[in-house]
């Protein structure tokens, strides 16, 4: 069954077919003196630029740093990076829209990625995602989403919670995870990769963590 035509495709701006305003200035490289960049962010971006033969290589780490400061790749965050790197904001937008880890909308400070790829899906990952989303329904500060393979199929079903790999998580533990995030605690202590004494439940010698 086809959905009824509403005349509007979701995700497409209403004025997509409006003629281009030729009088408008093309996007230009913002002048650093006109943009207020936090000094630590500016220093971090400059350090990244210094590591590469070509400054553009620093785009990914620079945007990552800006996202950490601003919470998401907001137009202001992009302008700040553009001013320090001396590239156009449009070029940086082309990057933020390509890579999954850049948020182009404000989605909260906590990043909860549930791996729902092939191997995890064989181990109940979809149920975990749904449980976490339900538990986090009224918690606006977390971006809870399914993510393609996170490279932790041994811990399935798992989630990357603010860059900490936690698993295996039973869907019934989802409210605990959200509660911990709400209170600023580390969810499921001892169950994250790299935590002291971490091992998989079926792993006798603990060599896999």
């Amino acid at each position: 069954m086809r959905p009824e035509a509403t005349g509007q495709t979701p995700g497409v701006p209403a004025d997509w077919d409006a003629p281009v305003d030729l009088a408008k200035d093309p996007a230009t490289i913002p002048d650093l003196s006109s943009v207020d960049v936090p000094p630590e962010l500016e220093k971090e971006i400059r350090d990244h630029i210094a590591k590469y033969p070509n400054k553009r290589s620093a785009a990914l780490p620079a945007l990552e740093a800006a996202q950490r400061v601003h919470g998401w790749c907001s137009p202001e965050a992009i302008r700040q990076v553009a001013a320090v790197m001396q590239v156009t904001p449009a070029y940086l937008s082309s990057i933020t829209t390509f890579y999954d880890m850049f948020n182009t909308e404000p989605l909260g400070h906590h990043q909860v990625y549930v791996c729902t790829s092939v191997a995890c899906n064989l181990r109940n990952a979809q149920a975990l995602l749904e449980a976490l989303q339900e538990a986090g329904q009224d918690f606006d500060d977390a971006n809870i989403r399914g993510f393609e393979c996170l490279g932790a199929c041994d811990m399935a079903p798992m989630a990357s919670i603010d860059n900490r790999y936690v698993g295996p998580i039973d869907p019934s533990e989802a409210p605990d995870v959200i509660e911990a995030l709400r209170e600023g605690r580390r969810p499921l202590p001892g169950r994250g990769l790299g935590d002291d004494g971490f091992k998989l439940p079926w792993d006798k010698d603990g060599s896999d963590g």
Binding site: K51, Y52, P53, N54, K55, R56, S57, A58, A59, L60, P61, L63, E64, S94, I95, F98, Y99, D100, M101, F102, Y113, T116, S117, V118, A119, N121, L122, R123, F147, E148, C149, L150, G151, A152, C153, D154, A156, S160, N163, R164, Y165, L193, G194, L200, W202, D203, D205, G206, S207, D208
Partner: protein
């Protein structure tokens, strides 16, 4: 069956990620040997002789690849591909997290042998915690003078930068990785020119997987002949396999190439849950055509998996048991590739999208058995028609599932259609059949 622990040697040693512990256990001696006792040519020759094949998926000879690097004084680069994002693969994560210095040592040896003075580790952004460990290891190596200018007084210079990606499967494709490292969207490039001639910043570039470089200190330290004692004639050495899916003990296991696959799935990983049977399995990540239960008796090696019509790929074994409908696996797989297609080549961008749509129709009862032919046809029209193999990586496994489980697909279509019919009668959008009409 016990594991053969060569790559995973000392992996449980506390503090192995620090340079002191690593050196106490004999670390960086291969680097000293390669830099002070050997000529770069003989290092490359040793790698060639060892038969070490790339562990990232393609299985190309590491020594050959290094020998393709042109001589001369131009800027040359080495990229370690740590973007590990093939579904089912998690071996490099373990190696880098536990033993980062061995990777650094492997990079130093390979770089000096190939005449490189600038190296990068491109690690996927999701592995941020592993990247921190690598950063610390690289700093320690700089502190000891193993990186930087005039390493060990031999006149060799090498800079090493840990570069973090930001979540894109395509950046594991070598030319996509290069574009991403140059600060662009990770779109693959047309080949040729191959990276060995024109790669990063248009300079000659050697690209190797983490596990491949991890083998290098061992090959140099113990010699090619020792290395060849492990594995088969055409697949020398040991291999880390990541076993996942419906098994009782998912995890990383180190094996000698050539042992029967059954040993891996049942012996090491414990087989499927009690009462379940293996329905099919992916021998080398989600991009490999699926194999059946009876193929478990084949030896697990590059050549034997190719003979079976599949590939060893990254060494990720995903096991699917008989409780799982094949359509759900195919759909999940196709959705992954649709999401990750960079969109540059039409057959891949459209092919992955339409494959998902067709599988959704099969699942929702809107398809007919004829659609399976169209589905199979779409897969053959993707293969070989794009710049990179992302589209092929969906087409091959999905094509193999349709071929090997055609009966189940047809049954699924039939049942879904019946269920959809019943639903529309209940909802009153369709008239009940004449004989049931009141």
């Amino acid at each position: 069956m016990a594991e053969t622990r060569v790559l995973l040697e000392h992996i449980d040693e506390p503090g192995l990620n620090t340079i002191d512990v690593y050196e106490r256990l004999g670390g960086y001696t291969s680097m000293r040997k390669a830099l002070t006792e050997m000529e770069p040519e003989s290092v490359v020759e040793e790698l060639k002789n060892s038969g070490l094949r790339g562990r990232g998926g393609a299985g190309f000879s590491m020594g050959m690849k290094a020998s393709f690097m042109p001589k001369g004084t131009m800027d040359k680069y080495l990229c370690c591909n740590a973007d590990e994002s093939e579904p089912g693969t998690f071996k490099d994560r373990l190696l880098m997290q536990k033993n980062p210095h061995r990777l650094v040592e492997g990079i130093i040896i390979a770089a000096v042998a190939a005449g490189v003075n600038k190296a990068f580790i491109y690690i996927r952004g999701e592995y941020a915690f592993v990247a921190d460990i690598l950063d610390a290891a690289v700093n320690e190596a700089y502190g000891k003078g193993y990186l930087g200018e005039d390493i060990l007084g031999t006149g060799n210079d090498l800079d090493l930068v840990v570069h973090r990606g930001a979540g894109a499967y395509i950046c594991g494709e070598e030319t996509g990785l290069l574009d991403s490292l140059e600060g662009k969207r990770g779109n693959p490039r047309l080949k040729p020119p191959f990276p060995a001639n024109q790669g990063l910043y248009q300079g000659p570039t050697l690209i190797n997987n983490v596990e491949t470089l991890f083998n290098v200190p061992m090959v140099i330290g113990k010699g090619a002949d020792w290395f060849k004692q492990h594995g088969t004639d055409q697949s020398s050495g040991t291999k880390l396999v990541s076993v996942s899916g419906n098994v009782q003990r998912p995890g990383n296991y180190e094996i000698e190439l050539g042992i029967p696959a059954r040993e891996i799935v049942y012996g090491l990983a414990g087989g499927p849950p009690p009462g379940r049977k293996v329905k099919f399995w992916f021998p080398g990540g989600s991009s490999a055509p699926v194999l059946l239960e009876e193929d478990l008796d084949r030896p697990y090696s590059f050549e034997s998996m190719a003979e079976a019509g599949s590939m060893l790929g990254s060494g990720a074994v995903i096991v699917v048991d008989d409780s799982v409908p094949v359509v759900s696996v195919a759909l999940r797989l196709a959705e992954f590739y649709r999401h990750e297609s960079c969109g540059k080549c039409v057959p891949c961008r459209e092919g992955t999208n339409w494959t998902v749509k067709m599988l959704e129709r099969i699942d929702s009862g809107e398809a007919t058995p004829m659609d399976l032919d169209i589905l199979a046809n779409v897969q053959t029209n993707i293969i070989g028609n794009c710049l990179c193999v992302l589209g092929d990586s969906m087409a091959m496994p999905v094509g193999s599932m349709v071929k090997k489980f055609r009966g189940e697909f047809e049954q699924h279509i039939e049942r879904a259609r019946e269920a959809a019919d019943r639903l529309s009668i209940e909802l009153g959008v369709a008239a009940p059949p004449a004989d049931q009409a009141a």
